[in-house]
Amino acid sequence: MNHVNISNWYNSLINEFKSKSLSIEKVSRRSEYWRKSNLDIISDFVDDTSQIDLNSINGTCLYEPNLTVHGDILELADEKSYEGLSILDVIADEDSFAKGYFGRLEKKSQRLVPRPLARENTLSPKVGYVFNFSDNLKKPLVIHNKTSPSASSCFQRNLIVLKENVEATIIETGNNLSVFNNVTEIYLGKNAKLNYLDLTGEDNLFPKISHKFCDMAEYSSFNHFGLRLNTKATRTEIELHLNGRGISTSIANVCLLNKENHISDENVLINHNAHECKSRQVFKSVLDNDCTSIVRGKIYVEPVAQKTDGYQSSRSLLLNENSKFLCKPELEIYADDVICSHGSTSGSLDQESLFYLLSRGVHKNKAKEMLISAFISEALDEIEDGSIKSALSNYIDIWISSFFNE
């Protein structure tokens, strides 16, 4: 951080946080939240780009980006429509509005789960953006991350604030050419709504660790959709604080892995701190070639959070014998008038359905594609915006067809 100017408030924050910092090596392998994770992938990742044709990597970009985070440079395509700031400017600014927000949710997130990578990010952000929305976004804001191949790792730190009644959709895509560690702190005002899509494709040859921490005021809504298409190694940590009545939230994830030993690791913690809130979690993983998908989803219900409606479903299709789906749904409930449910299944393609399609003349690969596409559709249905959903669904269908035609 020597080359960066820092404000007094950020300086005192790092002094406080540093004393409680925790390294990834010291995370107990017995910790519930790290037990199944392959920590070696993250800590000892061999930084070898010699085998990779960097020109062949295009990024999973469905949309023209408004903001490109190129290495450590922010490029805003249309500066007029969004008020975007660089995180480095913000932590240097004594009077920044961000001082009331920065680091607060990361600190809170350490209470139940050790999150050493998020802490490391707080102490040394290299790049990132700050958005403070006070008006509705008419179009989705598309952020394209292109981490630099020269850096061994990239710490990206973002802050998103939505004022009361503001609605926004953010789509994050990108291709990582180094280990990517992202922390995004999100604050939603009363009745605000954020749809966030994190689309990560097969050009992510390096581990990607994403943290999303979100504080929600009454009647606000946060919908997160994650896509993992043949990503080598990803770990996602999402923690939400439902702090006022009438909040609704949906966390959905589609994970399709068929390259040897690829791994996806999803961790969600939803804190119901107020009454009459609703949360949904839908995870769908399709795994081949000894790939692993880990899902840990927890619903925590405080005594005051009566009339909570919590739902969690995690299902996998295992297309070869050594693929693994490691799922741990958790409910911790201290209120007595709630509806909370979870379900988890793992299985192969349904042979009866396959036979039915074949018997009508559908070709075998096409029939499998249709069944896989049908399997993940429940998660895609969580996306509210019809045009985004259909663009994404077409994109995934084309990807699935190449999956069988290789």
Partner: protein, 254 residues
Amino acid sequence: MLKIDDLKVSLEEEEKQIIKGLSLSINPGEVHAIMGPNGSGKSTLSSVLAGKDGYIVDSGAVKFDGNDLLEAEVEERAALGVFMAFQYPIEIPGVGNMNFLRTALNSQRKTRGQEELNAADFLKLVRGIAKELEISDEMMKRPVNVGASGGEKKRNEILQMCLLEPRFVILDETDSGLDVDAMKLVSRGVNNFSSSSRSFLVITHYQRLLNYIVPDFVHIMVDGKIVKTGDKSLALHVEDTGYKDFLQLGKEKH
């Protein structure tokens, strides 16, 4: 058109022979009915003809227009013109009915080297058939068979048949779970579809369906073999006396 010659079939999972030397010849334009008591092997026969997994053909042959049907993949049989209406049509959540129908039709056309049907022509075609079978638009928009009643599922099978235009149709206990009105509707669909170049194999427990779909031949199947062949009056005889007369014939043939 279809020639089954001394077919013997066992279950894959247990060493048990279900079909024990069955021969049957079906010519273009003919309607054949197979009747028989529970466990006589009727459904196994339809499954083997359609190409379902789980069966071992011990011996015998099945030729369809000179092609070795047993060697063909399931989807190839469909493209050759073989269609089985399922006794229990499968529900497939997440696969839209229209998408399924269009993919099936165009897959078959592709296999046969024909041009694929465009969206507009397909819609026109499928809507016409749906109207005739009194299948609602709402039903067509649903995922395949999801939330459909027994009657709706069977009508959907007949719709698929009319759309795919097979030359040989197996109706596997299509009457099961149907009320009289639904049975009339389904039968009308089948009768409108029949022609001098198409053949049907109707598998049923009861004579009732054969009042509506009138067979040229009725075969009684007992213990994996056809023990008696006659015309439609044979079905009426079964309705009166049950299968007991034929059970003995099954034993004698061993």
